[in-house]
Amino acid sequence: MRRSINSNSLVVSLNPKSPISEVYRLLRAKIPFFSKDQDLKTVMVTSSQPGEGKTTTISNLAVTYAQEGKKVLLVDADMRKPSLHKMFSMINHRGLSTLLSGHSNIQDSIAETDISNLYLLPSGPVPSNPSELIDSPGMRELLTQLKEDYDVILVDTPAMLSVSDSTIVSPLCDGVIIVAAAGKVQKHNLRKAKEQLDHVNARLLGIVLNRAQ
């Protein structure tokens, strides 16, 4: 099920020596320092508003982990406007939605990408009830099961203030990273996103300031 990489934003894979790639490697190196002696296996990446660069950030971060020799799984938990499969030029017939609704198994749903050690669990076809699927006991069980097979699991979720999906997934993960686009993210929105995470006792590792001048 290998596919070629869509060269739009995977800068770490295309040009590992570029300054941007170096920033993503620095991000990967910084994450363990915020673990507080807790193993960070599942990290959720979100933002306050859509279009701030979550998918680009999570994809490049996943590539840096894979280049380090870790077995990485990218999970597209954005079942409303999925885009991770496009990043790796993959089909989205099966994935998280079919897995949680019992229409497919893990082996069928997870795809191997063109980058060694990097695997992708796409969102699957857009369901009619994304929040219900995310909030189901199956999601917690799935993450627990996947933790055994992969060194790092990175979960891409929708914008926090748009839908409740991110707020539901955040406590199930070991840490949360918020992507904020410079000059786009509004103060009150970022504050609201943090409050929502605090409300569900999710662990906010930090913020990635994206598209900085």
């Binding site: 060269s7 934003s9 800068v11 295309l14 040009n15 020596k17 570029s18 300054p19 941007i20 790639s21 920033v23 993503y24 620095l26 991000l27 910084k30 994450i31 915020f34 660069g53 680009t56 950030t57 990273i177 904020a180 410079a182 000059g183 786009k184 993210v185 509004q186 103060k187 009150h188 970022l190 504050r191 943090k194 906010l204 590792l205 930090g206 913020i207 990635v208 300031l209 994206n210 598209r211 900085a212 001048q213």
Partner: protein
Amino acid sequence: MELKHYFRVIQKRWWIIAVIVIVAMAAAGIKSFYFTTPVYSANAKLIVNQSSGDGLNTSTIQTSIFLINSYKEIIKSSAVMNKVVEQYPELGESSASLAAKVSVSAANNSQVMNLMYQDISYEKAANVVNAVSMVFKEQIPHIMNVDNITILSEADTSISPAPINFNPLMNILISFVVSFLLAIGFVFLLDYLDDTLKTEEEITRLMDVPVLAVVGRISKGDMKKPKQPKAMKQQKVGENQYAPLNQ
């Protein structure tokens, strides 16, 4: 807010300033050239001089100067203006409108009075000031019992002067200055109303959460695969030339 920040604000939104200034200057230019009705001004000069056999002396000059203030009012009075309308019906103006449009001025300590009239037709403006001058000169002996007005210069109806309100260069210059100041004000207003976060410091201060990374915009240069050096590219494994050993 420091000076550097002000420059950064202007630098960031310079195009807004440029657009506002260009639009304002273009509008001023278009208005000046195409939408401004030309207005012409005609002048006539009168001199107040007491007729005296002894010639000029300080006393008579002083009296003439004092009279000018009275004459300014008399010219605009209905006694004069009604006569103008009566004698020059071709002007097509009422006495009230003439009184409103005619302006009379005199320089300090001068015996010369300046009559001015503005109209969209220079010929009409010249005819009006000449008519008012003539009627005023005729009426003063009846009103003041003294014949002390001389027409120094009449408005020349044969010339075609430039309109007084046509100065496109000045209009464009004024529009540049005003629009530039307004544009800068507008840019600073936008910056003041901007509620977005732009720097790592702002996020740290607001959120009390660490900034893990600051990622710049991905440019086309970042997406290019690094080129291998030419020497490495051309050389293949086992291609090196070795000198044979003489054994």
